[in-house]
């Protein structure tokens, strides 16, 4: 049994999501190989080779992989798939986009967003917005799996894997990358942050959202939001926490002006400690909060910043 992890990377470094996926892959039972399909991705390949538990890094080089196009990355994984019992990718926008193509071409099922490896053929995964956990068993020859990164620790450093060049598949020629709009921020990445300060419709405007910034600064937190806040244009789409946005599980999640719809809870109810600030005592968010304050967030948030010193 050998597992292949399709690495998420930016050619220069490995994304944290890949490290959680490597841990899940190791739990499947055999050796772990990592595929780096990229362009001038030597640095990413070297980073993968230094991860504990990785036996081999396979590098496919080509401009057709530079921007993570699913058609090409999936084809590259398929070119070596017959060597593997398990093929895994992080359950991020990147991994979720690519992996089902691999499963379909192999004529096997995909198991989406596993939270636990029970045995090499049995996995736990949430569904119905995380209100139910299914334990599923696959009898397919290859198990194709996306991994919920918050459910597995990041693999540690300390490996020294062999790095091997493999032949690159051709560009599919049917898709091309046009442009990207990625916000850069000094804050930690939302999906992996230890503390998250999250705002909802209660903030009322893009301008008002800024009152959360001193709080996030004090706590070294990432910032997130409910769907309502994103739909209303207060914050960018990649801030959305929820069933179909980002799933986070920080040490501390502070929900400000968020009512707590089923779909939002799905994205944050695994947080270790949840704080809710809302003027509506009946808001469903209080049902998952460890500590709740009922009141005006425009008064409470500045008070909190002051109290934190």
């Amino acid at each position: 049994m050998t597992a292949l992890v399709i690495a998420e990377h930016d050619n220069v470094s490995l994304k944290g999501s890949t490290l959680n996926t490597i841990t899940a892959a190791a739990q499947c039972g055999g050796d772990v190989h990592v595929l780096i399909a990229g362009h001038n991705a030597d640095a990413a390949a070297q980073a993968a080779a230094k991860v504990a538990g990785v036996a081999k890094v396979l590098v496919a080089e080509g401009v057709q992989f530079a921007d993570g196009l699913a058609e090409n990355i999936a084809a590259q994984a398929l070119s070596i798939a017959s060597n593997y019992s398990h093929i895994l990718a992080p359950a991020t926008a990147y991994g979720k986009n690519i992996l089902p193509r691999v499963a379909a071409k192999l004529d096997v099922a995909q198991i989406s967003e596993i939270t636990k490896v029970v045995s090499p053929d049995t996995f736990e995964r949430p569904f119905y917005a995380g209100n139910a956990i299914a334990t599923v068993q696959s009898s397919d020859a290859v198990k194709v799996i996306t991994v919920r990164t918050t459910a597995f620790d990041a693999a540690a450093a300390g490996g020294s894997a062999a790095v091997e060049s493999i032949s690159a598949v051709a560009d599919s020629g049917k898709s091309s990358f046009v442009s990207r709009q990625i916000a850069t921020s000094a804050r930690p990445e939302l999906a992996a942050a230890k503390v998250v300060v999250s705002g909802g419709r209660g903030l009322g405007s893009e301008e008002n959202f800024k009152i959360l910034e001193p709080l996030a600064d004090k706590l070294g937190a990432a910032m997130g939001a409910s769907r309502a806040a994103v739909d209303a244009g207060f914050v960018p789409n990649d801030w959305q926490v929820g069933q179909t946005g980002k799933v986070v599980a920080p040490e501390l999640y502070i929900a400000v002006g968020i009512s707590g719809a089923i779909q939002h809870l799905a994205g944050m109810k695994d947080s270790k400690t949840i704080v809710a600030i809302n003027k509506d005592a009946e808001a469903p968010i209080f049902s998952v909060a460890d500590y709740g304050i009922v009141g005006d967030l425009f008064e409470i948030v500045p008070q909190l910043v002051k109290e934190l010193g």
Partner: protein, 283 residues
């Protein structure tokens, strides 16, 4: 008078000389540019329902629970209808795979604006791979230029079908679309990704899966609901399409997620900070 008529007829023939090739190319444009859009839709537990796990752990209790079209699929139908209204799509075909009651979901799709519908009827538990195969069989028959699906169903949360279908058809894909622009034989799609937005360009035929902010679906009006009752709804079985829909994954059990201990309401910020520091120890 005669000279006037001569002048008029000269203008007319000049007019006709200009119009005629335009008319011909217009006909050719529409014939050669017939764009069929296929929109798969799924009948799921309504998004407002918080489902309960059965006490025998055999599954989720959905008896008598409200069912609706998957919200992402509503967005897909709406997008197809907008493409038709913009003159880019010529026919919208809604398709659903599953139990007989999925007919209701298809009538809703036609009420939003799909032209006709196909139900692939089966009581077998359908998993994404099987659905993708059924949709491929439909696509092979109907030859759409564009297939728009919801990015995930809110019951299984699988987020696979669109991508699997694209692979089976060997078509390009653009998932999590927040904007779709069809231009000739290409479609430009803005995608919502983890760090922000990305734009890709695909050659048709192609697959697009919808994200929340692609559009806001219209309210279905009563006149349109009545019209939908008269639109064609064809019924086929998986066997007719030559597809084996046997599920691959076996569900051994369904359990409740870990319960959180009940929390408390604190009276003021000072208490909150004290608790966070000394009780939860997270700051």
């Amino acid at each position: 008078m005669a000279s006037f008529l001569v002048l008029l007829s000269k203008d007319l023939s000049r007019f006709a000389a200009i119009i005629s090739p335009l008319a011909t190319s217009a006909v050719e444009f529409f014939k050669g540019n017939e764009m069929k859009v296929l929109v798969p839709v799924k009948r799921v537990v309504d998004y407002n329902v918080k489902v309960r796990v059965k006490s025998d752990q055999s599954g989720v209790d959905i008896a008598n629970v409200k069912m609706s079209m998957n919200p992402f699929d509503e967005i897909a139908v709406e997008e197809a209808v907008r493409l038709k209204e913009a003159g880019k799509a010529t026919e919208i075909i809604a398709v659903s795979c599953g139990v007989t009651q999925s007919q209701e979901t298809l009538r809703t799709a036609m009420a939003i604006g799909a032209d006709r519908a196909i139900l692939v009827e089966t009581d077998v538990e359908l998993q994404p791979l099987a659905v993708a195969k059924l949709l491929k069989a439909i696509a092979d028959k109907e030859q759409p230029q564009l297939i728009i699906l919801g990015k995930q169903a809110i019951d299984d949360d699988a987020n696979q079908t669109g991508q699997m279908l694209a692979a089976l058809l060997d078509w390009p894909q653009a998932t999590y679309a927040s904007k779709v622009e069809v231009d000739g034989d290409k479609v430009k799609v803005t995608r919502e990704i983890d760090g922000g937005l990305e734009v890709v360009s695909l050659t048709l035929p192609a697959i697009v899966t919808t994200d929340l902010r692609l559009n806001e679906p219209r309210y279905v009006t009563l006149p349109n609901i009545m019209k939908a009752k008269k639109k064609t709804l064809d019924n086929v079985k998986p066997a007719d399409l030559g597809v084996d829909v046997t599920p691959r994954l076996k569900t051994l059990k369904v359990s409740e997620p870990a319960k959180r201990a009940a929390g408390i309401i604190v009276p003021d910020v000072a208490t909150l900070v004290d608790k966070l520091k000394n009780e939860a120890k997270v700051i």
